[in-house]
Each structure stands twice: as structure tokens, then as C-alpha cells.
Symmetry: C2
Subunit: 338 residues, 2 copies
């Protein structure tokens, strides 16, 4: 089913409202999901909304929670998410630390007991568009094996960085896994084989069977370095907030467990005025650098997502038929007059 | 020539003293270099000292400068390094922001006009051993080509993260280049060919000739993601401090130009007490995870460097004969009575 972003938002907001999510929170959660679909990150798009609704109905996600804030120190906001929706808890915290970073130069929010954030790019881009630098990381269920190891011991632990620039900010948002578990499931559905080196099976042997990889583990991106970076992010999160770690992490992919991972956001206020111009000039040089024959132009982080978004705003976004049908039915169940 | 760490320190301190570096600054600069050799990172070891001495003699490095400090905001220290020695300027700044982080929860130092830092691991490990979390990044001359690009447009931009743990901290220190330019030069000296995919020649064509790669560019690690991370770090540094960017960066590898790159250090005070134990338990689980047949045990970032250091403390470190002879001669020239 191809729908416009507006239709997608309306239906998502309606479904969330039916589940008891207040209007502003529903708008925010819907926005983060639809923006992921617009950028082509469908694994973080509306596909996730049925599970969010199920988690609310089972009491695993609290529809009205925004998080309890405690300033552990003037620049360090400790947030107990109270099982709230990830974007709702995160944006309430970001509002606080953005103000604090303007006063102090930087500030950090460490969050636990909050649900899945969705696409991190959305948060750091919004910070960068407001003139500050945003850094975000979070962890997931253990899906990635250590370099040289046989079993999943760390999450796909993404790192996102948003930095002001013209005409658009630099927006990095990268998983530290070589591929996503969503891609493994997609390959399994389509009967495609994985590339060698992408995954191990449940016993730790290399496999190109997507079905076997579903119960196994994904390789880290970039070999030993990517493994080390992903592990460092897991430990960074676990050092700053009472997050579960490694194989104990639950609740970002299921509808059975409270979400026990942590999130870390850092906002920096650029100290040197006037750095946007030289940085933007440099990014322009990078974009114009010669490319290998027949290749596309060099992209700066965020460019590809922006191009996909512009196209999807014109052409609409693809939502799986059963997902759309379910969301429409849920959304309309609370609006008997329509 | 194989020398003990003590001999290496003594000679390095002597050579720096001869060049007019005050005792404590000389001890610090020598320590950072010798510790790199001890960990097997010879490209950041004593090999660099002759160039540091030459830079001092040419007025490109100021032997007594420690940096001018200005608090741009309570948690944001802006440092004009005054062309001081990298470790001297950095440690003076780190002393300030470590105290500030204990008060505010976190603090940042942004540094410009300072010389080469050497191995970043040294800084973040010292922060972690003092119970705080350290994050460090810096940039270099453009040596790495963008993903899909043909020319070097960004530095090897390392990222280092140190996090308290028992028995030893996690210490990540990774370049965002696939290999170092030092390795390219080493291969060229030995007449070895590079692996395919490691480098491009000066015209942007793939090459396995180390000689051709010396004037070309290195691939980013981890493909598009590693490129994006390295670029984000370059822009992060350039947004926070008046650093040159891309092909305009000079002075970390030569004896002809002022060093015009920037450095960024962040210190975080863990907000949640008692997280060292669960984090350390998790790292223990990672180390004990099953490995692929015949592989070595899984390492946590910092483990390998620590093993190499322990061995080198027993067996000594290798220093190239001409480097050692030059340093000894320089060190002794100021000590006529010995």
C-alpha cells in the first residue's frame, strides 16, 4: 500500500490515541516512525507501530509517561523513563538539556526504562537544525558477535551525530552491526542467501542461510574496529545509566518484556562563533571531490536520507498491507462518527 | 636497538630538555611517546621525537607553551595552544575539565594551535583510571578518501573512549582509516605490496603499490560507515574550534608548517554510582565468550595494548638505530659532565 506522509501520520496518531496516548505524545511517536519510512528506513517505520500498540495494551509501555527527571549534576540529567514511549521520554529530556547546554556549553541526558527510540537521526538532526551539536547512542538486544567470537554479545548499538551546516546539517546515524537483523528477516522471507561474512548461525558457524542467521548473530561492521566501537558504546551507556547489558537486554524487539536498555544523549553548544561557514564550505568540497568512474557523487552523512525523503514526500511511502489495515482499523475504532 | 622503557624515557627527557622544554613538560611528552612504543604503536612512539625536536628548533613548536584557557561556558573550555607540545597543552586542559566534570557532570575542552597529541589511548585511559569517562578525537592531514571518492579529503581522525572498569578500564583508540600511512611507508621500505582495497594512487586509481599509495590516499575503515564516522569527527572538531579542515590541515607530519588541526576532549562523570561492577561483569562475559576454532580469546578494547605493554616492560622496546643515536647525542649534548 502506498500512502502519503500525511495519511500515514493521521492513521498513526489515531491508532496511538485509541491506545490512550495523549495528543502531543501521539504526534511525536507518529512523526518519528513516519520520518523513518520517508527516509527509507522501513525497519524503524510504521512497521513497528503494531508492536508499540501491543506493548501499550500489555502494560509494557506507559502511554502517558514522560520520564522522571533528576539533575545528577548541573549538566547531567538522569531520566527514569517510567516505561514511556521512547520518543516522548527522549524529547522531554532533550528539551531540558538543550536549554542547559546553551547555559553551560554542553549537557547530557542518560535514560533508562524507556521504550524504543526509533531512528536516532531524527533526534540529532532536530538538535543540529536548532544550532547545537547532538550526539546520541543507545543499545539493543544482543545481536552482534564480538570480533573473533561465536555468539551475539552486544547490540547493534547505533551512533548518531548531528552538526549544524548549510544548506543542511551533517547527520550521521550508523548501526555498529554490519547489517540489520531486519535485513536478515527480509532475506529469509524472500529466500535470498546472505553474503559470506555477514552472519553466524546459532552454534557460531559462518552461514549464508538467512533462516539460520535469524537465531544466530550478525557480524560487526568494519571488523575489529567496528566491534570495539559497538562494545564501547554498550559500556558507555551501561556506565551512565542502569541499563541491562549484552544478553540481558530485552524489550526493543518483543512484546513480552519491559524495555531495559539505556540511551545517552549529549548536546554541545559550539564555542567558536562563525564555524558553520568553514564547515559547510568543507562539506561542499567533499561533495564535489572526483568520484570513481560511473559512481554517483560523494555523499555527506544525511544526504542520502534527505534525497529519499524528498522523493517519498512526492511519491508516498510503502506500508505493508496488513500493517496498514491493522492501523486503519485501530485508528477508526475510536472515531465512530467518521 | 632494544632499550628499556626507563632508558627510553631518560634519553627522551634529556633530548627535550636540551631543546628548552621544561622538566615536567619534557617528562609528559616523553611519557606519551614511550607508552606508545610499549603498546606496539611505534608510529606514535620515539620515532616522532626527532621531528618534534626539529619543530621546536624551527619555532613551529613552542617548548614552554601550555595553552591559553578561556571558559566559553562553564562546561566548555576553549584552548589556544600557542603552538605548544600536544601532550602538554592537552593535559593542562584535561586537568581543568576533569575538575569541572566532577562539579557539573561533564565538561569539554576544544583545542587549536597545538602540536600532535600522540596516542589518544593514553589520555582517555588516564581519565578512566581516575574514575571518569573520557572521549577524545583529533584530526590529521587529509589522508583518507571519501567512500566512492578518488582523493584524500579527511584525516585518519581517531576516536578514543576510556571507561572505568575492573581490573582495567575499557580503552578504545581507533583510527577511522583502514590502515595508517605509517604502514604504507613501512610496506614501501620492505618492498611489500598492499592488499587490494587498502589505498588509491595519486590519480585516484586503486593500487597495491605502497610507493604509489604514499602520494595517494587510504581507504576509510568499514566502508561507507567508517567514512561517515571519520567525516563526522572532522566536522565535529571543526565546529567546536578554529581548526583547518580537509586538505588545508598541516603540521602533524611535517617540520615545515604550524600545526593547524583541532582536538576535542570530553570528560563525563558517571551519574549512577555502582555501575563499575555490572559493566566489568559484562566485559568479563565478553572475554569468555566462545571463539572461532583456533582463534585467540575475544579481546576487549585495551586488552591487546596492555598485553603488549607488559611484554615490552620485560623485554624492552625496539627503537630504530638512527633515531636512538640521534636522541642520545642530543640528550648528552646538554650534559657535558656525564
Amino acid at each position: 500500500m502506498r500512502v502519503t506522509a500525511g495519511e500515514a501520520r493521521t492513521v498513526a496518531i489515531g491508532a496511538l490515541a485509541t491506545a490512550g496516548v495523549p495528543a502531543e505524545a501521539a504526534r511525536l511517536q507518529a512523526e518519528v516512525l513516519v520520518e523513518a519510512d520517508l527516509r527509507g528506513h522501513h525497519s524503524h517505520g510504521l512497521l513497528r507501530l503494531p508492536r508499540i500498540l501491543e506493548r501499550i495494551s500489555r502494560g509494557l509501555a506507559a502511554p502517558t509517561a514522560v520520564g522522571k527527571h533528576r539533575w545528577a549534576a548541573p549538566a547531567m540529567l538522569d531520566v527514569d523513563g517510567g516505561d514511556g514511549l521512547g520518543p516522548v521520554v527522549a524529547m522531554a529530556a532533550l528539551d531540558r538539556i538543550s536549554v542547559r547546554a546553551r547555559q553551560l556549553g554542553m549537557a547530557c541526558a542518560v535514560i533508562h526504562s524507556s521504550n524504543h527510540l526509533g531512528m536516532l537521526a531524527w533526534y540529532v538532526e532536530s538538535i543540529a537544525r536548532a544550532g547545537q551539536i547532538g550526539i546520541a547512542t543507545t543499545i539493543s538486544e544482543a545481536l552482534v558477535h564480538p570480533w573473533g567470537g561465536r555468539l551475539a554479545m552486544q547490540g547493534t548499538n547505533p551512533l548518531a551525530i548531528g552538526i549544524p551546516a548549510t544548506p543542511d546539517p551533517l547527520v550521521l546515524d550508523m548501526s555498529t552491526g554490519l547489517i540489520s537483523m531486519g535485513k536478515v528477516h527480509d532475506y529469509a522471507l524472500r529466500g535470498r542467501r546472505l553474503e559470506p561474512g555477514w552472519a553466524l548461525d546459532a552454534s557460531g558457524e559462518p552461514t549464508t542461510s538467512a533462516d539460520a542467521a535469524k537465531t544466530g548473530s550478525i557480524a560487526p561492521f568494519g571488523g575489529a574496529k567496528g566491534y570495539a566501537l559497538g562494545l564501547a558504546l554498550e559500556v558507555l551507556v551501561g556506565s551512565l545509566t542502569p541499563s541491562a547489558l549484552g544478553t540481558a537486554v530485552r524489550g526493543t524487539l518483543d512484546s513480552a518484556h519491559p524495555c531495559n536498555k539505556g540511551d545517552v544523549f549529549i548536546v554541545l553548544q559550539p564555542a567558536s562563533p562563525g564555524r558553520v561557514t568553514p564547515v559547510s564550505d568543507y562539506l561542499g568540497q567533499v561533495r564535489q571531490t572526483p568520484t570513481a568512474p560511473s559512481d554517483t557523487p560523494v555523499s555527506v552523512p544525511g544526504d542520502g536520507a534527505r534525497r529519499r525523503r524528498e522523493q517519498a514526500l512526492r511519491k508516498g511511502i510503502d506500508v505493508a498491507d496488513p500493517v496498514w489495515a491493522q492501523l486503519r482499523a485501530t485508528a477508526q475504532s475510536s472515531q465512530p462518527d467518521r
